[in-house]
Subunit: 310 residues, 2 copies
C-alpha cells in the first residue's frame, strides 16, 4: 500500500508513519510544520520508502501535484489545528487548518480516484455532556471552534464516502499523549516545574477529568481497523479510565522528584472557554470489534511524563 499521511510530521502522524513503514508500506507525508516538526521525522528522511513534502494542504495546486506524482491509495488525514486554546481567539484557524484541509483532501481523492481514508476526529464533537458518549446516539453539540470544524469534516466525509464509493474510517480521539507530544497540560506542568519546583499553577479547579490514551495504543487501533469495511465506519477510541488534572500534577511531581509543591488553582470548572471539563466514552463498539487499550489513563500519563524527562 502507498499511504499518504496528511499532518505526517505531527505528534500522532509521525508515529503512524513509523508503524506503516514497519508493516512494509510506502509512505508519503505532507506537513506544513505549523505544529508538526522536522525533528519528528528526521529518522525517516533517509528511508527509501518514505517521501516528505513540506506543503500546505490549502494549496490545492501542490496537492494535485502530489496526488499526480505519488498516486497514493490510502489517505490518513491527521492534519488539523490541534490546539483548541489557540483558535478560541481566532476561529479562522479552524476554518482553514481543520475544515478546509479536509475538504481539499477529499476533493483531491475524488478527482484522483483514491478510495480509502482514515480520519482523526475528536471527542470535542460531542460538546459538554454528563452522559456516557455513544457514537451513534449522542447529540453532537461542540462547544469549541475545533470541535465544530471536526464535526463539519465528519459531515464532508459522510457525503464524499457515499457519493464516491469511498471507504472511510473515523476515530473520535480522546486526549492522546506520549512521545513527541507538543502541547497540553502534561507538557505545561513539566515546563512550569522545571522553572520553579516550589509551586505549580493549575488552570480550573483541578477536577477536570478526562481519559488519556497512550499514542501507541491509538496507532495499534488504527493499524488494526484500517481496512475494516465499506462506507463509513465510526468508532470512539479511548480508555475506560480517566485522570483528573490534580492527579496529573501529582504524577508529574512524583516523576520529576519534586516534593512539597504548592498547587495553585485559577478556579472554575474548565481550564479555558471551550474546554470540556469531563467526559467519558461508551467504548462498547470498539471493544466488541476486538480492540482494547493496553494502558490505563494514569499509566499513559506516567509513561508520557517519563518520555518527556528523557
Amino acid at each position: 500500500m502507498k499511504a499518504l499521511i496528511a499532518g505526517g510530521a505531527g505528534f500522532i502522524g509521525s508515529h503512524l508513519a513509523d508503524y506503516l513503514l514497519n508493516e512494509g508500506n510506502e509512505v508519503v507525508c505532507i506537513d506544513n510544520f505549523f505544529i508538526g516538526t522536522r525533528q519528528n521525522i528526521l529518522h525517516l528522511l533517509t528511508n527509501p520508502h518514505y517521501v516528505f513534502y513540506q506543503y500546505d494542504l490549502n494549496n490545492m495546486e501542490l496537492l494535485h501535484q502530489v496526488f499526480n506524482k505519488e498516486k497514493p491509495d490510502y489517505v490518513f488525514h491527521l492534519a488539523a489545528n490541534s490546539d483548541i486554546q489557540a483558535s478560541a481567539q481566532n476561529p479562522i484557524i479552524e476554518y482553514q487548518n481543520t475544515y478546509s484541509t479536509t475538504f481539499n483532501l477529499l476533493e483531491a481523492m475524488r478527482l484522483h480516484n483514491v478510495k480509502k481514508m482514515f480520519f482523526a476526529s475528536t471527542s470535542a464533537v460531542y460538546g459538554n455532556k454528563d452522559a456516557l458518549l455513544n457514537e451513534e446516539t449522542a447529540l453532537l453539540a461542540p462547544i469549541s471552534y475545533y470541535g465544530g470544524a471536526k464535526l463539519g469534516s465528519e459531515g464532508l466525509l459522510s457525503a464524499y464516502a457515499y457519493m464516491n464509493d469511498m471507504d472511510v474510517l473515523i476515530f473520535r480521539f480522546p486526549n492522546v499523549i506520549g512521545p513527541r507530544l507538543t502541547h497540553g497540560v502534561i507538557f505545561d506542568f513539566i515546563k512550569r516545574l522545571k522553572k520553579d519546583s516550589s509551586k505549580l499553577l493549575i488552570l480550573g479547579d483541578g477536577t477536570q477529568t478526562k481519559p488519556y490514551l497512550y499514542v501507541f495504543d491509538l496507532i495499534e487501533a488504527i493499524m488494526k481497523f484500517k481496512n475494516i469495511g465499506k462506507g463509513v465506519t465510526l468508532y470512539n477510541v479511548g480508555v475506560d479510565t480517566a485522570t483528573s488534572v490534580t492527579r496529573i500534577a501529582e504524577i508529574v511531581c512524583q516523576k520529576i522528584g519534586a516534593s512539597n509543591v504548592s498547587f495553585e488553582y485559577t478556579g472554575g470548572k474548565g481550564g479555558w472557554k471551550g474546554d470540556v471539563p469531563k467526559f467519558q466514552y461508551d467504548l462498547s463498539k470498539i471493544h466488541t470489534a476486538g480492540w482494547t487499550a493496553k494502558y490505563t489513563s494514569d499509566e499513559a500519563v506516567a509513561l508520557t511524563v517519563e518520555n518527556n524527562l528523557v
Copy 2:
C-alpha cells in the same frame, strides 16, 4: 427588531421578509441572486423599513460594511445552495455557498456583537435512514455534499453559540414548497407537462416519498419560535404526512387538467445520487412546543401546483 436576512431574495427568505415587516420589524436583506431573484422582492423595494444589498456573503469586507452600517440585532441565515443535484457534480458549490457563508456570517456576528441567529438546516443532515428521525438521538450521516455542508454549519453554530453567548434557533427543514418555488419535482413536472401533456418523465420508480411542508406553515413556525431561548434550540420542522413522487405527478396532472398522461419512470430507488428516497421526522419536540403544520403534505403539493398555474 432589525433583522438581517441572508438569502433574503430566495423562495423562503423573501416570504420571511414579508412576515417580519408585517410584524413591524426593520429588514435588511443580502442576496447575490444566484438562486434568489429580484422578482421575489420587487414589492419590498419601496418599503421604507426594507433595505436590500446585492452582495455575496463570501465577500467579508462588504459583509462588515453592512454590519457596521445597519447594526442588525438578529440574523436569519437562509443563504445556501439549495439545489442538491447541481452540487453533486461540483462539491465546491457547497463549500462556498453553504458552509463558508455560515462561517462568514458567524464571524461577522462575533466581531459586531450580534447575538441572535436563525439557521435553515435540513433533513439531509440525517442521510438515508428507515427510522423515524429524532433530532437528538438519530445518527447524522449525510449522503449529499449539501447535507454535509449543512451539518458542518450546525457544528459551527453550536461552537459559536457557546463561545459568544449567542442564542441560535435551528430548524431542520423538510422539502418546503409554495409560491416563489424555483426548482424541484413539482416545478419540473409542470414544465414538462406544459411542453408535452401526453407523457411525463419521472426520475426513479416514483415511490420516493417525502413530507412536503407549505412555506407559510414554515414561516409561521419561524415567527413563533424566533425568540425561544438561550443557547442552541434545535427542531425538526415538518408534517406527519408524506407524498410519493407518483402522487405528485397525479396531483399536477389533475390540477393542470391533463388526462391520459403516460408516466415514464427512469427506475431505481432515488431520483439522483445523493437523493434520500424516503424519510419521516419525529415531530414530537416541535408539536409539544406548540406548533403543528396546518396543511398536510398532499394539500401543500396541491396548493403549490395551483400557485404555479396562476
